[in-house]
Amino acid sequence: MIRNSLVVFAVFLFLLPLSAGAAGYGTAGCGLGSMVIGSDRGAKQIFAATTNGTSGSQTFGMTSGTSNCGDHGLLNLSKEREVFASENYTSLVKEMAQGKGENLNILASMYQCPIANYQEFGAMTQDKFNDLVAGAQTTPIELLSRLENQLNQHRALSKSCNIQLSVLKR
């Protein structure tokens, strides 16, 4: 009985208007190139725990050949800003136009700005918005390098923040 009704259940799921959601939604960091591609019916993309053959107990999302990943399956710190900016690009650019927001604060923290300067960081990105995002073609990496330029030129932020990757701990 249970089995039969599960069959019926499955048949009806077949009839549901499945959403066309996940098409093309990107992944980040250690999932790059290793994710199971979501179907255009809304199946979720996941960071697959792919085996790369280097150890017995495979950890997560490890793929050889992605520069964003360390061999321990986490993001390389040197790629942290880049991956963050790419994955949250629309939210980040929107917040820059607004001059404040959660993603913007995180970006400030990734440049070692003290919390007291977050507001100034946000105000600067709004003020210099047209320089930071020149047009629809600006890539996340270009945005970051322009942001670093602006930080260097900024009177207060150039002192309190630090754009060097080497300062990221560990």
Partner: protein, 639 residues
């Protein structure tokens, strides 16, 4: 089997398994291993709860156990999946493996199974002079980088458009020491999910239900999941920050490392995301007994409830609205004029460069642009390229020229309610009623999930999922018990009309019912229907909802003229909330069957519900099918 025989058997197995160890020159090691194994047996270590949690053993009949893990690398003994004792002995033996005998590119077992090592060390107090402790470089860097000071249970609300997410989803966030406060989004999340190997929705559902998919744990930056759930799928997130000590978190992490290398057969209703999330918490704190209460199905919202019921486990709850909810929060704060202006901006009837827009106050402009940008972001999430700005540059630029003074933080309007406020998913119903001939009693049970007449806190208020709802009636005069109705699956998504984002309402229903438009001695009929419609709610939190549907129907029964009929219906109705307790539904439909048996008739329903609490309500129903009437008084209990 006498225990000496068993010991001998295990020793033979071990000798066969690990000849390097067994015949190692270092006989002192062997002595120490034998000593540990003997001691472990003596104190019955393999019977302890923690060992069973670590190896995912589940009880079977007659005291037997079987591990849920299906990747065989998870075990050290060949019979480790079903034999905790031999697995424990083999695990101890594996820890003695000399590092020069490791296969190339393999981690030492001490590094592969660090949670088991930690626990066995605590229990047996390894003598480091006699057991060489291995350096686990990758593991150490992993643990140091994650450096957890907390863990957060994250609940993603319902997503009706994907059957795999209909009941919500849970994952955990590992809160690192230096990623607190403003930086919470940069923490890592751990997720358990099925890895689907098919695009075919039929196979997808079938395999999901029967355990044919591999389920695996994965770890990823939490913000990628926020983008996926919050922004792509428009699901609000509820984050529950939990209290664990740093040592407990360390154990959980070490166990997660072990799980990363294996897989489980994924069962949609039982061994699903929420089930495995609960087991992570049990590993951290074995006194917690979170999974014990679930046997038929593990529904994500129920797991949130059980976590919240534990003393001092939840530290803090945080609501993270989806982009759609953020947009609606802003619209909720708008005046009618502002809302109309927004609609015209969306329809491109007002340009942002126009004088009409420039004449508005800065505050108005900011509100409109912020809302418009949310709208554009929401709309464009569905499009292909993720690494492109989805909001037109001109809009962004206009917004960047506007500055507003830091406004006071307003109270956030919640567009979903916390899952733990919801009624239980199981429902028991007892009722009494009367039809045109005789009185009857009614008994019903369903394991899941929520119907539109139930109190909607904790659920999506405009949708309904009913699964396996069986109802029996006992007719008092004819002294008969009949299956009145079995709703195998019924889904309704009302999607109230929104001129900005139009989504049609839809519903489907598959059930075994009584043929109610005639007198056939309560004969049964198999029915299926699918319909589309439209519903309207005057404002976001208005108590009134109007709906209408157009459905296709098929019915099969040997009491029908040609054993079947195919047709359709049009239904109109309304829901109205007088207050938290009292809701009423009025609905009427005209049904017309044009293939098979021809028939046309009207139905009408009046249902009133009064809720005493989250889990108890009473209902008064009046139903009319063609010329047949019935009235029912019922009590519903949710658990």
């Amino acid at each position: 089997m006498p225990s000496s025989l068993l010991v001998a058997g295990i020793t033979v197995v071990l000798f066969a398994l690990l000849p390097e160890v067994a015949f190692s020159k270092d006989t002192a090691n062997n002595d120490y291993l034998a000593e540990l194994q003997q001691h472990a047996r003596k104190i019955k270590l393999s019977e302890q709860r923690v060992w069973h949690l670590l190896l995912k053993y589940n009880p079977r009949f007659f005291g037997a156990v079987v591990s849920e893990a299906d990747g065989m690398d998870f075990f050290n003994a060949p019979d480790g999946k079903t034999n905790p004792e031999s697995e424990l002995s083999a695990t101890l033996a594996s820890f003695f493996l000399p590092s020069d005998q490791l296969k190339k590119n393999k981690e030492h077992p001490q590094c592969n199974f660090p949670a088991r090592f930690k626990w066995l060390d605590q229990q047996l107090k390894f003598d480091t002079n006699r057991l060489r402790i291995q350096v686990c470089d990758r593991l150490d860097r992993w643990v140091n980088e994650l450096d957890p000071v907390g863990v957060t249970l994250v609940f993603a609300t319902y997503y009706l458009n994907n059957p795999a997410s209909m009941f919500g989803h849970t994952l955990v966030r590992i809160d690192s020491r230096d990623r607190g406060g403003e930086r919470k989004l940069t923490n890592y999340g751990a997720n358990y999910a099925a890895i689907p190997d098919t695009d075919n929705p039929f196979l997808y559902a079938w395999r999901g239900l029967t355990g044919a998919f591999e389920g695996r744990f994965a770890i990823f930056p939490y913000y990628t999941k926020v983008q996926e759930y919050n922004n792509l799928e428009s699901r609000d997130l509820w984050e529950y920050e939990l209290n664990f000590t740093e040592d407990q978190l360390n154990t959980m992490l070490l166990h997660l490392w072990e799980l990363g290398g294996t897989y489980f057969d994924y069962y949609y209703f039982q061994e699903n995301c929420s089930y495995h999330v609960l087991s992570l918490f049990e590993i951290a704190k074995p006194e917690l007994r979170l999974k014990d209460r679930f046997f038929f199905s593990v529904i994500p919202a129920d797991t949130v409830k059980i976590v919240l019921e534990q003393d001092n486990l939840v530290r803090n709850a945080v609501y993270r609205p989806s982009i759609l909810s953020q947009m609606n929060q802003k619209r909720h704060a708008m005046t009618n004029v502002q809302e109309q202006t927004l609609q015209r901006i969306v329809k491109a009837e007002i340009s942002l460069e126009s004088d009409e827009f420039a004449r508005l106050s800065t505050q108005s402009q900011v509100l409109l642009l912020d809302t418009y940008m949310d709208y554009l972001q929401h709309q464009s999430m569905q499009q292909k390229n993720n690494h492109e700005v989805k909001i037109p540059h001109s809009v962004l630029l206009t917004r960047s020229r506007l500055q507003v003074a830091e406004e006071k933080t307003k109270a956030v309007t919640h567009f979903s309610s916390p899952p733990d406020h919801g009624h239980g998913a199981d429902r028991l119903r007892i009722g009494m009623g009367h039809n045109d001939q005789e009185p009857f009693m009614e008994f019903a049970y369903r394991p899941a999930y929520h119907d539109l007449m139930a109190r909607d806190e904790g659920y999506d208020k405009d949708s309904e999922i009913i699964f396996m709802d069986f109802k029996l009636r006992y007719f008092l005069e004819s002294r008969r018990v009949r299956l009145d109705q079995a709703r195998l699956l019924s889904i309704t998504a009302l999607n109230p009309y929104d001129s900005l984002l139009f989504k049609p309402a839809w519903r489907m229903d598959l059930n075994i019912d009584t043929l109610r438009d005639r007198n056939c001695n309560y004969c049964n009929v198999i029915k299926g229907s699918y319909g589309r419609g439209i519903s309207y709610r005057p404002a976001f939190f208005s108590p009134l909802l109007l709906f209408s549907f157009l459905d296709l129907r098929t019915e099969f029964s040997d009491h029908l003229a040609r054993d079947y009929r195919i047709g359709g219906d049009v239904e109109m109705g309304t829901y109205y909330d007088f207050n938290n307790h009292l809701r009423i539904k009025l609905a009427a439909s005209y049904q017309a069957f044009i293939l098979g048996e021809h028939k046309r008739f009207f139905t009408s329903h009046v249902v009133t519900r009064y809720a005493f609490s989250q889990n108890l309500d009473i209902r008064l129903e009046f139903n009319r099918y063609d010329h047949n009437n019935e009235g029912i008084f019922a009590v519903n209990y949710y658990f």
